[in-house]
Symmetry: D2
Subunit: 370 residues, 4 copies
Amino acid sequence: MTRLPQNPIKVGVLGATGTVGQRFILLLSTHPFFKLHVLGASSRSAGLAYSKAVRWKQVSPIPECARDLIVKTCIAQEFAECSIVFSGLDADVAGDIEAEFRAADLAVFSNSKNFRRDPVVPLIVPLVNTSHLSIIPHQRSLNSLQKGFIVTNANCSTTGLVIPLAALEKAFGPIDTCLVTTMQAISGAGYPGVPSFDIFDNVVPHIGGEEEKMEWEVAKILGGIAEDGQSFDCRATSPLLVSASCNRVPVLEGHTECVSVRFARRPPPSVEQIQQAMRDFTCEAQEVGCPSAPKEVIFVHEEVDRPQPRLDRDFQKGAGVNVGRIRPCPVLDVKFVVLSNNVAIGAATSSIINAEYAVLTGVVASDPVA
Amino acid sequence: MTRLPQNPIKVGVLGATGTVGQRFILLLSTHPFFKLHVLGASSRSAGLAYSKAVRWKQVSPIPECARDLIVKTCIAQEFAECSIVFSGLDADVAGDIEAEFRAADLAVFSNSKNFRRDPVVPLIVPLVNTSHLSIIPHQRSLNSLQKGFIVTNANCSTTGLVIPLAALEKAFGPIDTCLVTTMQAISGAGYPGVPSFDIFDNVVPHIGGEEEKMEWEVAKILGGIAEDGQSFDCRATSPLLVSASCNRVPVLEGHTECVSVRFARRPPPSVEQIQQAMRDFTCEAQEVGCPSAPKEVIFVHEEVDRPQPRLDRDFQKGAGVNVGRIRPCPVLDVKFVVLSNNVAIGAATSSIINAEYAVLTGVVASDPVA
Amino acid sequence: MTRLPQNPIKVGVLGATGTVGQRFILLLSTHPFFKLHVLGASSRSAGLAYSKAVRWKQVSPIPECARDLIVKTCIAQEFAECSIVFSGLDADVAGDIEAEFRAADLAVFSNSKNFRRDPVVPLIVPLVNTSHLSIIPHQRSLNSLQKGFIVTNANCSTTGLVIPLAALEKAFGPIDTCLVTTMQAISGAGYPGVPSFDIFDNVVPHIGGEEEKMEWEVAKILGGIAEDGQSFDCRATSPLLVSASCNRVPVLEGHTECVSVRFARRPPPSVEQIQQAMRDFTCEAQEVGCPSAPKEVIFVHEEVDRPQPRLDRDFQKGAGVNVGRIRPCPVLDVKFVVLSNNVAIGAATSSIINAEYAVLTGVVASDPVA
Amino acid sequence: MTRLPQNPIKVGVLGATGTVGQRFILLLSTHPFFKLHVLGASSRSAGLAYSKAVRWKQVSPIPECARDLIVKTCIAQEFAECSIVFSGLDADVAGDIEAEFRAADLAVFSNSKNFRRDPVVPLIVPLVNTSHLSIIPHQRSLNSLQKGFIVTNANCSTTGLVIPLAALEKAFGPIDTCLVTTMQAISGAGYPGVPSFDIFDNVVPHIGGEEEKMEWEVAKILGGIAEDGQSFDCRATSPLLVSASCNRVPVLEGHTECVSVRFARRPPPSVEQIQQAMRDFTCEAQEVGCPSAPKEVIFVHEEVDRPQPRLDRDFQKGAGVNVGRIRPCPVLDVKFVVLSNNVAIGAATSSIINAEYAVLTGVVASDPVA
């Protein structure tokens, strides 16, 4: 395991008053080596103490380290002392601001969707494809930067899906096709998000853009990097067809997904082999010692009615995923249920593990002069 | 359209105090030609006025015609004057009681699962396969009966699925494979049913026996009858593989199902053709004039986020189904969302339309001597 | 009973695309003598067919009579042909628009709060104080009008409270003090209203301005009119102290209120007397034959656990109130539970009965020349 | 602060598979000096490993220290080695079993209601009246015991109410009257508890026996002990009238209560004085250093819309209470909102603090020979 940084690493949060921003702050407030240094939000909040600017919606109180920080506007010079900037910005502003921050040679780890399809920006689920960080030198070079870059993490519903898919491909080779139906929590829509009148006693069988994201992001995440290290192959060689049906359900936190897959390999692996492969799956973020990585990437349930969002979403602080009901699929090969915490590994936790990995592998300098 | 019966037809309800029984009573209380005559329940309720025996859980009050009926035990002689007996019995007692009623030469329309797999008992979704009633003479003959028989209707989640599948097969020939993920309402579990502690802010990704029922019942319903008229072929010749994933969600009423299908026909029909075929679909229950049949078997929604259980479950009193989001499936051919009312067409309404059809086609005698 | 108007009376709806506006349209679409003639909304909607302008959120489809009406802006000349204008406008615009409509000699029945405290505008709960319409001549005279006026109905939580209070005062004389704790449905907040993230698995013990409204409105509604007929006494002579605690709970429709009261009369009436007085309570709106008035103003439940919002809110189409659990209060005299439908008698239904009463008593001319 | 025991104290749990039993086990698994030694349940569970016997319904996994314990039947000899026995038994069996355990000279801390009204059994809310333990010698003497006794804690809704009342009486003298309306969580009803069909989108304005419990228990808890130390005065001298209205609402955990009080003292204290008195309130359980006592008995919120169950129920692990919205009551003197965690301080946490207090004050011997 890698040595942890000796000195605290100053970090900033963009969109600090929003839902994702609040989660960043909660996670960073107890982090072993990241230290909250600057909080950025809209000009409406700038100049206020964080506790005055935010409509805090978390179950635990505002961390002491954030309460009295004066909120700044989201301009790069305010964050000049930060080695890392986490972005929880809304998509309508994230594009411009993150680009400006990168141009100012800052390292941006973004939860926003804006740069996910950029050909030189890695889209990283930290329990799956941290290797994609290898494109950073090329991204820097294109932008004439020394330290700056943008790394994105995936959409919350993609994240829950792609982790077990990665475990299966690692053990059994390419997956051919995948059908997934999601039952997504309301917290995935931010705040104020879904009006209660729309989702009480109801299911909404549509989430704008979500199915397209799932179908596309999986291909980039499970794809490799071209030989010259300068582009992603987005599963060009061995296509993986994904068909997603996305639903909003009256659940606060935790996305449940029913997944069926077909392997390229004939005959396909058995249910027992798949259970074992999921249990055995490990990732580089664990190997290099990322403090926020879960102990078990995939926890496999044996009870017939698990995982369930209310009971399982907080296991390992939501940093891993839960899989259950692995069983044969009469149409494809095998089907199972995934439960992932959309506000943890599906959002802020992913960004933070990505950043930990970047620090521990030297992509971000870890021990700057104090 | 067929002539409606001139005289009221006396009917009984088995399991009258249960959830399905209460729905039978509501529907029968305003029926144009069925007349509630006997209510049967357990010995604990027998002898009491219905209003004293029942824990009424419906939104409208107990119908006047049922309020003061004295509840009987579920033995055939109490129902001797009934031309039709509807059964909403629990599966643990339905088998014996329904068999006894049939042996007493009574016509039983059952919502219970016990006889669904019986080789001479039709499993009828009234908007799909009323033609299966043609096996009744053979069933009577095997049991040496003049009038008695058992007809079952399908499981609530099967019903929602099989209606659009039937529309598609009617228009485009056999469906090869079908993947379905359900999000089922708590009312499907009866009363007391699902503990609130289990389903609040939660999804339970398992309903005992439900997936097997869906996968099997579709084959019987969409199958034909053998040439000799004495057995069902259960889709022996052109198998339709169904893979079901069943979930309970925090919704009171209305099962939502995400369905993907692959046709045998190549190339498959277009989305527009499928929309049209669903809209055009009609059934024999409509043709013979069943009063409880919906005007539109399938209502096709154009809004991107419909159907939704809370908004659409009561359309046409829940007697039809709602389909929306018909779109290409990257893995199979096409995918769509179905919403069906599990306590209406998914339960009591199906039994009643089946009985109406039997009356209107002479399978049950409609104008007995007074 | 009064003779109903022979000719349809043309009516308009202000705020037609909003939550209350949608309810007005549903109720008016099947009304025996009101006829939807003009729909008004913001300039964003004006010029569109209603079905294109509205985000329809009701369980039944958009009524045919409204679907193709072209939405107008909320200026009086667009409504010149309307004998009555119903207002479901938001409070931020209702003041100016309703004043302009009155100035144009139009009769406005408003669900908005803006004019409720106006000294010459009656605040009418139609099952309680339709007699307050007698101030209309004075209101017209002050504004130099022939036909125009503004009548308001009460806040939804006030309405549920004041109806049983009126029944008690009618039978037993003045109530001294009243403590009420409300559990209010989310639909009371309009659309988008309460974010699901705020109210799922939660109670919010505060609704802005609601407690003040309840404490104040009761005094005006249960007060008389001064002898000169030109002002309300707002309970100046026999004060009724009300203390309200208002809560939002995760319920879609139906406000539940726990009420304790103390009578001026000593000894106070018995529980049995109170039950009887509630059952016996009738109102002038019934006497003159308002078609939307409920058959029973107060339905008194005997079951120990009723009324309940989900089971009782739709009784009598929500036009009456439900009372249950009448029992002694160890601190004041008696306590009970009220359930009223906040979107029916708590909003649009009240306005409509008020207008029916005005027509049937000649305050609004009923049979204008065609 | 008192010295903590040096050696672990062996404890048992009666009703270990039930809802309260599971909470006892969670809390005891990480306790600084109590050590889980025996788990008792019905004969159906006896003989099984705990993990096989229980339907575990908690968010965190079964603690390691309980997982493999073999469940025993609830007979005293199985618990002979336990210095303390916690009872989470259902009321229908708790009476006999707890009596037998006491007769066997065991110290029983019970969450059940059976002995709460017993004239020599203290009813202790640990943040209020631990002084009532002084009756134990008399209870032992009556039963000819050396060590055994029964101590009960209060009903969950009583607990939330009585803590702020105690703070007010401590600062301002007797409270005269108190009206309280509760909005209680479903977890208060145990498992399976409230059927989802009854409480979804609903309020149930009745909880059997709950109002009587609240009205009565407050008098015993806030009353003193007679001079001879052999009975409770149950507020005989300065009566405190309580009127409770109890409601079940669709919330998982956390009871919200709207409270109005009238003081004997005229004039009553101001809102500011009351806020301060609540903040300043401390209890003996804190003073002797009970490890499970909260740091702040009452946390007073300043936000206008707090406390809320979802956001505040887990503050201080649910061991304290939350109060907010302290404001004048137009009818009595002052009103406020209380939020207490019904499964923590409202149940198992109370029993455990009571036991900690008994150990730290020598009522239970703390360092027995190993």
